[in-house]
Each structure stands twice: as C-alpha cells, then as structure tokens.
C-alpha cells in the first residue's frame, strides 16, 4: 500500500513537471528573437508564402491562444506538426526515439558491466595497481569530451584497425528487421534474423562505448567508494568469521549493500546518457532523438523542440521511478516500510 501511494504521488509529480516544462519551453521558444518561418522557408519565400505559413502553423495568433491550442492538442495526443519535416511530431519521435533508447541502454549495459566490477576490483585492491588503473581510467572517463572520444574511437577502431563499423545502425546492404519495438537488436531477435542481429550489435559497439564511458567512470567510482565503506562494516567481519568464502562475502554481503547508492547513480546516469546522445548520435550518424533535437533546434522547429522536451520530461522521472523500484528490491527495509 505504501508503495502504491508512493507510485501515485510520483505519477502526479510527473504530470506536474510536464505542465511546467511545456509552459517554460513554449514561452522560451516563442520569445527568442528569431523567426522560424525564415528558417523553414529560407531566402526565396514571398510575402504571400510567409503569410500562408504563419496561418498554417497559427504563428499569427496571440501567444496564449497558441499555447492553449497546443495543450488541447496535447491532451488528444497531438504534439503538433514539425516545421522542418512537415510531419506530425509524434510520428517523428516514434521514428527516432527507439534508436536513442537502444543506444542509451547499450551504453548503460556497458557502464554497468564494466563500471561495477571495476569499482569492486578497485576497492578490494585498494592502494595497489588495479586500484590505480581503475582510478586513472575513471578520471579520464569523467573528463574526456564525448565528441572527441567519438572521433578517436572511429579513427582507431574503424578507420585504422577496421574492427567495428564507424556509424549508422546497420550495414548498408543488410535489411533492417521488421519494426516491432524499433530496437534493431530486439527486433532482429524477434525475427530470428541473425545477420541483422550481428550487424546491429556490431554497429552498437563504438557509439555505446563512447556514450557509456563517462557513465562507466562515474559508476566505477561510486561502487569503489561504497564498497570501501561496506568492507569495513561489522557484518562483513561476521560473514568471514562464519567461514564464508571470500567471493561470497564480497558479492553477497558486500556488493549488494554497496549497490544501493550505485543504483541511484545509474538512474541519474540514464538521464545524462540521453543528453550525451545528442553528440554521440551526430558523430556516429545515429538516427536518434539527439540528432532530431539538434536539427529541430537549428531550424527553430518549435513544435519538435517542445515534443523532445516533453519526452525528456517523462523519461527522466521515469528513470528515477525505476531506481526507486530497484531500491524496493535491493533494500528489504523499504519493503517492510
């Protein structure tokens, strides 16, 4: 019951955040001193074309009326029409969001699979070479710019060594799997298409590593410090005194307790992955939300910018909600409540 109440409060909170975000984004995007019509129609448009465009997108109406029309549409699931692509924003988001989710999840998998073991290894080897290696690696990961890292990994692993593809989601002559989730790896699995699966997995490697390196560093450092704290606890000494194997002591008693703060970081990291995807997607020609958002911002495509912002406003709190649910599983005290 306690959990259900908490869930309800969070969902109401997400709705409130969306209202606030929509008002702020709408206001900011409509008061900046630049004309989306000029961006959309370019240098050659006649006055008549400009007037027709303004009427079509209701840009000739007072701002409150434009907002009201937008909100009414929103309630009916209509995010408006993109000025740049001339398509419904919802359709554009539907096309580009899965690519970003796939990339972000892959980056998160990289971050978790590398970051947590590295943090544990570093903690149990405190002051020795593995610890130094992980700490230096984390320091670099925390400070290296994503765009620079992207260019380096493309230059090295694609251009020089030829180990992995340098961009796009799938090879030129591999047909993408029939879209069910929009995630190529999942769709390939569902379709049983091993060629598409292999190609999409290989194409994920470099962008996922690039995007995930920062998160890997953060998770490794957090896991290390949590583990160091846990390793000194009485219950760890007790577990060892009971004669448990060191591996079990570390993994079952140490790591599970050390994971609680790490899980918080993972949730926050997922949000940062989405924002980091903007640069990664550009460098790797990845047709996701980040690239869509960049193109929309450059073209002053306000409906698209609003759509992306609202989507982000849902994803961030949802990621936090998932973290809270993970707490529930990790920390029995929250279940007893």
């Amino acid at each position: 019951m306690r959990f259900l109440g908490f869930l309800t409060r969070r969902i109401v909170g997400i709705a409130a955040v969306m209202v606030g975000v929509s008002i702020i984004t709408f206001a900011i995007s409509h008061v900046i001193p630049a004309d989306p019509v000029a961006a959309a129609l370019g240098d050659h448009a006649t006055d008549q074309q400009i007037a027709a465009f303004r009427a079509e997108y209701q840009l000739d109406r007072p701002l409150p009326e434009q907002y009201l029309t937008y909100v009414v549409g929103l309630v009916h699931g209509d995010l408006g029409r993109s000025i740049r692509t001339r398509r419904p924003v919802a359709d554009d988001l539907f096309d580009s969001f899965p690519a970003t989710i796939e990339l972000s999840l892959a980056a998160l998998v990289v971050a978790i699979l590398v970051g947590i073991p590295a943090g544990v290894w570093s903690a149990i080897s405190r002051g020795r070479l593995p610890d130094h290696l992980v700490r230096v690696g984390s320091l670099i990961g925390g400070s290296i710019p994503v765009f620079w890292l992207g260019l380096i990994v493309i230059g090295l692993f694609y251009y020089q060594l030829g180990w992995f593809p340098g961009g796009a989601r799938i090879d030129n002559f591999v047909t993408p799997p029939p879209s069910r989730t929009g995630l190529f790896v999942v769709d390939s699995l569902l379709a049983g298409d091993l060629v598409a699966l292999r190609s999409s997995l290989l194409h994920l490697v470099l962008p996922a590593v690039t995007l995930g390196y920062f998160s890997t560093a953060v998770i490794a450092r957090m896991t290390r410090s949590s583990m160091l704290e846990v390793l000194g606890q009485d219950y760890m000494r007790t577990a060892r005194a009971k004669g448990l194997q060191e591996r079990l002591v570390i993994l079952r008693h140490g790591l599970r307790n050390a994971l609680i703060p790490t899980v918080t970081i993972i949730g926050l990291t997922f949000g940062s992955l989405l924002s980091g995807a903007v640069l990664t997607e550009t460098i790797f020609s990845w047709p996701g939300l980040g690239r869509y958002a960049t193109a929309a911002a450059v073209a002053l495509d306000f409906p698209a910018v609003l759509g992306v912002t609202l989507l982000a406003a849902i994803v961030y709190p949802l990621a936090n909600l998932v973290v809270d649910i993970a707490y529930f599983w990790l920390d029995p005290r929250t279940q007893r409540g």
Binding site: H44, G167, R169, F173, L197
Partner: protein
C-alpha cells in the same frame, strides 16, 4: 518464473547474442559494407552505388512537393520531364519526353505545343500519355506546395493553362508577361516530373492527390524507382525495368544519411561507399594522394555575396559601394581561405548559366578605393556587418571570411562591426530591410539567368534588390525585358549589359561561386554533377 528458469533464459539469450556476433556475416563498414548475401532487397550490392550525404533536408520524394537538395538529386533520376538539360550544360534545352516544342503567339498568351515521344512506359508498365502530363502539372498547381510558385508565380500558370489536344500533344498557354525560356528551364526541374496518373489516382486518400503515397514511393518513368525511404537513414533507388532509355548498369543507388564529412571521408577511404557528397576543403586535402580515391570540385550555382543596404548612409552613395567592392582581396579569399575550391566570380549570374559575365574587375586596389571614398566625401565609415553562424559554402567559416573582409576594409578606413547570428535570424533582419552589410549566399530557383537577374535588380520583386533598398527602375525593366527575349544571342547580349551595369552600380560585393566537393572511389565513372544539383545516375558505372 523460477530462478533456474530465469537463469536458463538469460544464458540462452546471451548464447544467441554471442552466436550472432560470431556468425557468418558482413565486414564492418562506416555505414556498413557490402554483403551480397545479406539483403535480397538491395538488388545486388556489387552493382549498387552507395552515396553518403547529409539527407536531413528530405521532406518528401513527391515531385510536386519536394524542393530540397537531397530530394531533387534523388528524384531527378526517377521522373522524366518534357524537356531537359543534358549533363552539365545548363544553357541548351534538349528534348526529353517531348520530341519537339513550338512557341506561338496566340493573342493574349504564348502557346507552347509539345509533341510527346511514343512508347514511353512508367515503372508500373502503364503507357505515358498527354493526360499524364496534364495531370502532373495540374496536380502541382492544386497541391500548391513549396515548388508550386515556379508554375503559378514565375510562369503565371493556372490549372486551365494546360490541355491535351490528343494523346501525344500537350499545349501550355503562358501569359505574355512570363518568359518562355524561363518556363522551359522550370520544366527541366523536378516539379516538371511527369507522374503516372493512373497509379497516383489509385493511391489517393482523402483528396490528397496521392501525396501521402508519393511521399516515399514513386510513379515515374525515369531510369530508377524509389524502393524505400527509411527516414533519417537511407533512400534506395532501384533500376526501372520499364525504362525506355539506355538502361543503367547500376542495379540501384543507395543514398545513406551520413551528415559528418569526416565519417564520409573515412568510409570512402575504406571502400565502404562509392561517393562522398558533403566533403569540405579539409577532407578534400586529406584525400589527396590516397590510393583508390579521386576528388573533384564540381560547379554549383550559388553565389556568396555581401549586400549593401542603399537606404543606409553612406551606402546610398554609389562611390562608397564601389570603394567597398574595390578594396576586397578576392584572390586571397579564393586561393588562401578557400584553398581554390571556389571560383572567382563578381557578377550576379553564376558561371554555368546563360548570361554569365566573365568580367572580374575588382582586386584589392586600396588607393583606388580610398579615392572613391574621397569622391563620396567620406574618410572614416563605420557599419554593422551581419553574418550567419557556421560554415559558408566552399569550406571556410562565415566568420573567417568576415574577418578577412573586415581587415581589407579597415585598410581604406571602413570599420565594420561583425555581428554573427543564426541564418534564420539574419534572414529576418535582411528581409525587413534592416541590415547594413549582410553576407549570405543565393542560388537560383531554376536554371535561367532570370532567376538571378530578377531578384537582384527588380525592387518590386521584393527580393534581394528590395532588401538592399536598391530601386533602379530602368535596370529592373531591362531585366524584365531580357527575360522575354527568345533569341539566345540577343538574350545573352541583354544580360551582358545588365550584369555590367550591376557590377559597378548595384549594392553587391559578389565574393565567389562555391564548388560542390566530391570524393569518389576510383572505379566510379560517368558521374557528371550538374550545377543545378543533380547527376544523371543512369550513366554512372562502378
């Protein structure tokens, strides 16, 4: 799910992923590599031309709707037009679907009668008739999308202006105010593409004239048809088996959306693509001397220029404007800043179009420029200089070109305050006639000198001349008259006179004509880029 079952399913999933990753497959590539066995839809990877370019401008592949560079390039190879320009020549109109045409004075209009080639079939197998031509033109007018103004405003057409008098004859009535030469040039453009009326009508939904269908399908008679467009990813054209002309040797053309020039360069060097379409000067320099790769700087019809607002003092004085033109080191911009990847052009009609004026009288003459300022009674001038953000056509940043101009003008006592902003913001100021000095580029709407001379000289057209407050009724009238001349030699002479006049009297500093930079694999032959923005891919081999 029990824990053992859960563990088993996880192990199975991992095993499947590993098996896939280790399984038989393709060699990795920038945007992937050819893997003939991988895709039945590609129609043979070995004979499919792969082009990397930034296709983020794609909105539609419907010839009545599209007006974007990527769409123009792709669909030019999908739809045939009544008349065409051949190869890179943009000065001679040649027959295409029409074997001949005849312009007659019909009293209140000029009537153009087109005789159609017989035996032409669409990709669907339907025969192409005069009804298809009438339907295509009327459809473009009815839809009234971005390119429709070429028919309605420039050519003054209405839906009833076109009729089929028999299955192989089409008559189009032009108002006397419209230029027949300019109209023929418009017909070569993608909006002149003839669609299969039977197929399009069958695909109509909700009175949309089939535009939802033609957004990502095709119904043309050209050498290729649209196999698919995966948004933000790729467009695949496949060879049209019913094409009546010389059959392409390529089985298909794949346009991959790769916006980063460096990625395009890497993919080209690795042999993963055949053509890189968005290279900058830096990538061209890096590709020099690399084996298996060639580069070229093809023509474009853009002009990069500075507009001088003649409503702002002292730019209202023709000597001040001439002084600013005279002080610029054009050779430094062309050779040093832009590494020779652009052409030195100073007139308002670009090289490649009829009416191009080869005259380049200006080159960093500081003494003459100072003297011109003195004649105007000016010794120290300060002006705002509005420029766009990002890269300029040709490969240098707008800001670098602006810095060079600032330095050149400083030598004659003209101080400019550079203000950099987004193109959209700049256009807002420029359109409102509120700029002082504005640097931007211009490309013609259709391959005819009128598409530049009109906007640059006619104040009433409310285009570039108006934005720079330059109202010269005499030259504007000469421009309008020249557009209506049908004799090519007389027309060329008229444009020579106009462009000479604008060169010294207009409010423009035309800086250069950028090139379109391409990288090719060495085995790619027959790719001839037309400055209007396409290549005829049917003649390309690899």
């Amino acid at each position: 799910m029990s824990s053992s079952l859960r563990q088993l399913s996880i192990v199975f999933a991992i095993a499947l992923l590993v098996a896939a990753a280790c399984g038989p497959a393709t060699t990795p590539g920038a945007s992937g590599s050819a893997a003939p066995s991988a895709s039945p839809t590609a129609g043979g990877a070995a004979s499919t031309l792969v082009i990397d370019r930034d296709t983020s401008d794609l909105i539609s592949l419907d010839p009545a709707v599209l007006y974007e560079f990527s769409a123009v390039f792709a669909t030019h190879n999908v739809y045939e037009t009544l008349v065409k320009f051949e190869g890179t020549d943009l000065s001679t109109i040649k027959p295409s679907l029409a074997t001949s045409w005849d312009i007659k004075d019909a009293g209140s209009t000029n009537d153009i009668t087109f005789k159609l080639k017989s035996g032409v079939k669409f990709a669907s197998g339907n025969p192409l008739t005069a009804d298809d031509v009438v339907y295509s033109v009327q459809r473009a007018i009815k839809l009234n999308k971005s390119p429709a103004f070429l028919f309605t405003d420039i050519a003054g057409l209405k839906a009833e202006s076109i009729k089929a008098t028999d299955p192989t004859t089409v008559v189009i009535s032009l108002p006397k105010t419209a230029s027949a030469q300019a109209f023929l040039a418009i017909l070569t453009f993608t909006i002149g593409g003839v669609v299969d009326s039977k197929e399009v009508k069958a695909k109509e939904t909700g009175g949309d004239s089939g535009s939802a269908y033609l957004l990502d399908h095709s119904a043309g008679s050209g050498p290729f048809f649209v196999d698919h467009w995966t948004k933000n990813t790729e467009v695949l054209l496949k060879a049209n088996p019913n094409y009546g002309g010389t059959k392409p040797t390529l089985s298909g053309v794949l346009f991959k959306h790769v916006p980063e020039p460096t990625n395009q360069q890497f993919a080209l060097e690795k042999g993963d693509i055949d053509i890189a379409n968005d290279l900058g000067a830096e990538q061209i320099a890096a590709l020099q001397g690399k084996s298996g790769v060639t580069t070229t700087a093809a023509d474009s019809l853009l002009l990069v220029y500075v507009g001088m607002n003649a409503t702002v003092k002292p730019l209202d004085n023709v000597n001040v404007r001439e002084a600013l033109r005279t002080a610029v080191d054009y050779d430094g911009i062309v050779k040093d800043l832009l590494k020779g990847n652009v052409k030195k052009v100073q007139g308002i009609v670009p090289k490649g179009l009829a009416g191009f004026n080869e005259s380049t009288p200006f080159q960093a003459d500081v003494n003459k420029a100072k003297s011109l300022l003195q004649q105007a009674g000016q010794t120290a001038v300060t002006l705002d200089f509005l420029i766009p953000a990002g890269p300029a056509p040709g490969g240098a940043a707008w800001s670098d070109i602006a810095a060079k101009l600032k330095s050149d003008w400083a030598k004659i006592g003209v101080t400019v305050n550079i203000k950099q902003t987004t193109t959209a913001d700049l256009l807002g100021t420029y359109r409102a006639q509120k700029g002082q000095l504005v640097m931007i580029n211009w490309g013609p709407d259709y391959p005819d000198p009128d598409a530049n001379v009109g906007p640059f000289t006619d104040y009433k057209a409310k285009s570039i001349g108006w934005r720079n407050g330059w109202d010269d009724p005499a030259i504007a009238q000469k421009g309008r008259d020249a557009a209506l001349i049908t004799d090519p030699a007389k027309r060329a002479a008229a444009y020579k006179e106009i462009t000479d006049y604008v060169l010294h009297n207009g409010p423009y500093v035309v800086l250069y004509q950028p090139s379109e930079l391409f990288g090719f694999r060495s085995n790619v032959k027959g790719f001839n880029w037309s400055a209007i923005g396409w290549a005829e891919l049917a003649s390309v081999t690899k």
